[in-house]
């Protein structure tokens, strides 16, 4: 059975992980599970920027992927970056296996306003779906409500919904149909 693995990196509130597990299953209709792993963070830590290299984390994340794992979503509270950008909310491999989402800049507290746990859950879910969407080949969408709309600041995340627009949703369905077809083909080959 294929899974979307949710892998915490560093300290993550378990209720958040369980919420993601349930919500991502509802969104993608693919079984989800929480898989714990140990990470050596020192190679991806940049002391000058006091941030963690997202691309390095992503590579570490997809290392030793179990065969039943279809996609991986790494969830971290660390502040992540790629060299060209000051920060990232998340990163994903387009049409690949791995995606990463950081809650560091999703907290209200980061912007000096009182923490709002519900808002944090909502933002984390949207960014989790968004990054996983890239792994299914989706690019940024111009539909204002679509979860695949690009967000470069939290207010933009709050403006979009947790859902795919009709066009993006169709691409996910097409992907799933193609996958089922592959499984049927592989199954018939095995029988013969």
């Amino acid at each position: 059975m294929p899974y979307i693995d949710i892998i915490p990196i560093g300290e993550i509130d378990e209720t958040l992980l369980l919420f993601l597990k349930q919500s991502l299953f509802q969104t993608f209709n693919i079984q989800t599970r929480i898989r714990n792993r140990r990470f050596n963070l020192s190679p991806v830590y940049d002391p000058v920027r006091n941030q963690y290299n997202s691309s390095g984390l992503l590579l570490e994340l997809i290392n030793d992927t179990p065969p039943e794992t279809l996609r991986i979503l790494g969830v971290t509270d660390l502040d992540v970056f790629i060299p060209i950008f000051t920060f990232l909310f998340g990163e994903a491999q387009l049409n690949g296996v791995g995606a990463l989402v950081s809650s560091h800049r999703l907290h209200n507290q980061f912007y000096g306003i009182p923490e709002n746990k519900e808002l944090l859950k909502d933002r984390l879910l949207k960014e989790g779906i968004h990054e996983l969407g890239h792994t299914f080949g989706l690019i940024h969408c111009f539909s204002l409500n679509c979860v695949m709309k690009s967000s470069t600041y939290v207010e933009e995340i709050d403006q979009k919904s947790t859902h795919f627009c009709r066009s993006c949703n169709q691409q996910i369905l097409n992907w799933q149909d193609g996958k089922k077809l592959d499984m049927v083909r592989n199954g018939s080959q095995e029988k013969s």
Binding site: R49, T86, L94, H134, I139
Partner: protein, 447 residues
């Protein structure tokens, strides 16, 4: 709106920068490629059109500034964004001076990059749209609406070409319907002001008070009924041309106000205390005897000289009968297309009627005649004499009273009578052949 049609080339010697920007732009839906040095970038730039190039300033070998100069030579429309890890005012200023659209310092704020690229794409689209629109304007301007091959009209077209290139005020003289506004539009269309509007104002159509508000505009409440602020035609013509039709019809006060505007290029809208600066070229037209009006003190002499910098006289249609078949066919084609009619020709008999007619209303009358003929022509594929409303008029409108007009009509009649046999016509007219040829040329007569 989507980004699929937009292409971005990322030039940076650092793999991590190329890779992360590549992935970022890819996820945004752009067509993206990377180059790790200047030489590779130039090769890729020559392979296809690119909309945006993000160029690192510090690269081994050819640096970003040098690459920028090469890129501008290959394609000056590429939007260049300089990326630098060592953002200093000097490098930024230098890059901008060399034509860069903007610069980014590493690391880049994702939001800033997103906005910068969006603005750059919009700018590129606007530039492309602007070029397309200018081409359309040029095409429209080149459509020669002034039809004719007679020596008189050829001379007019030559003068238009010459005067259009200057910014001189032009006074167009000619009878009603000779196409004075068309000439004004042609002058504007061939001038450097062609991308700005030409605003026409018929001075004969407004009472003086209204003309003042039409020209200068007014503030809200400037007079009874001025419920809204309104821009005047002087302001609307800013950058372009202002065409005063029937200039001879403006009152003395308006003449004074207009003279002041022409001299200062400034005016104050009605009810306002703000002076507005304007820049326009004036083209005026009249069919009245301005010199007589000046002599009778009905038209200010100083305004007359201001407007009469370059005078252009358009001949009446009856003085260039050689152009009638061409103009008639031009209107036939134009109106047949717009009315969706399969009328393709004018019969020789109908054309003869058109040539013989005196055309007191000039080209406007000819245009209306052809338009009307196309309405009444029915299912026929060509216009016949009975479709023209001129048969009785042709007889009722003898040539004018001047000796020249009578001579022209007489020479033409004799030529047609003798089926354009020059010797026979010369014999009937009791003139030699050379004189007859001179008269045919002079009056623009055509078989």
């Amino acid at each position: 709106m989507n980004n699929q049609g937009v292409s971005i080339l990322v030039v940076d010697d650092e793999f991590s920068v190329r890779d992360s920007l590549y992935n970022w732009f890819k996820s945004e839906g752009y067509r993206v490629d990377t180059a790790e040095n200047g030489m590779e970038a130039l090769k890729k730039l020559q392979e296809g059109p690119w909309d945006i190039a993000l160029v690192d300033i510090k690269m081994p070998g050819m640096d970003g500034m040098e690459l920028q100069r090469h890129i501008k030579k290959i394609d000056s429309t590429i939007i260049l964004i300089i990326i630098t890890a060592y953002a200093t005012v000097d490098t930024a200023v230098e890059a901008m001076k060399e034509g860069a659209y903007d610069y980014l310092s590493k690391p880049v704020d994702p939001d800033k990059l997103s906005i910068l690229i969006r603005n750059a794409v919009n700018q590129k689209r606007l530039i492309a749209e602007n070029i397309q629109l200018k081409q359309k304007v040029d095409e429209l301007s080149l459509q020669d609406e002034i039809v004719g091959e007679s020596p008189q009209i050829k001379k007019i077209l030559e003068i238009i070409d010459t005067v259009a290139k200057t910014d001189a005020t032009v006074m167009i003289r000619g009878e009603s319907g000779t196409g004075k506004e068309l000439v004004a539009q042609a002058i504007h269309g061939k001038s450097n002001r062609r991308y700005f509007p030409i605003i026409s104002i018929n001075c004969g159509a407004f009472p003086e008070g209204l003309l003042e508000s039409e020209l200068f505009g007014h503030e809200k409440g400037a007079f009874t009924g001025a419920q809204y602020k309104r821009k005047g035609k002087l302001e609307m013509a800013n950058g372009g041309s202002l065409f005063f039709d029937e200039i001879g019809n403006i009152g003395i006060k308006m003449q004074m106000d207009l003279l002041r505007v022409i001299e200062t290029k400034q005016f104050t809208p009605l009810g306002s205390n703000k002076v507005v600066d304007v820049d326009f070229r004036i083209i005026a037209a009249t069919n009245s005897d301005l010199e007589r009006k000046v002599a009778e003190k009905d038209f200010r002499e100083d305004l007359y000289y201001r407007l009469n910098v370059f005078s252009l006289q358009i001949p009446p249609l009856r003085e260039r009968t050689a152009d009638i078949p061409l103009i008639a066919r031009y209107f036939l084609e134009k109106y047949a297309r717009s009315m969706n009619k399969d009328v393709t020709d004018i019969s020789p008999e109908a054309m003869k009627v058109l040539i013989q007619y005196n055309w007191p209303g000039n080209i406007r009358e000819l245009r209306n005649t052809i338009e009307r003929a196309l309405v009444v022509v029915g299912e026929k594929d060509r216009i016949e004499p009975e479709d023209l409303n001129l048969l009785f008029l042709a007889k009722a409108n003898p040539p004018g009273d001047s000796l020249e007009e009578i001579e022209r009509a007489h020479v033409q009649r004799i030529l047609e009578q003798s089926d354009w046999n020059i010797s026979r016509s010369a014999e009937i007219l009791k003139i030699d052949r050379v004189t007859l040829y001179n008269k045919i040329k002079k009056y623009g007569l055509q078989r």
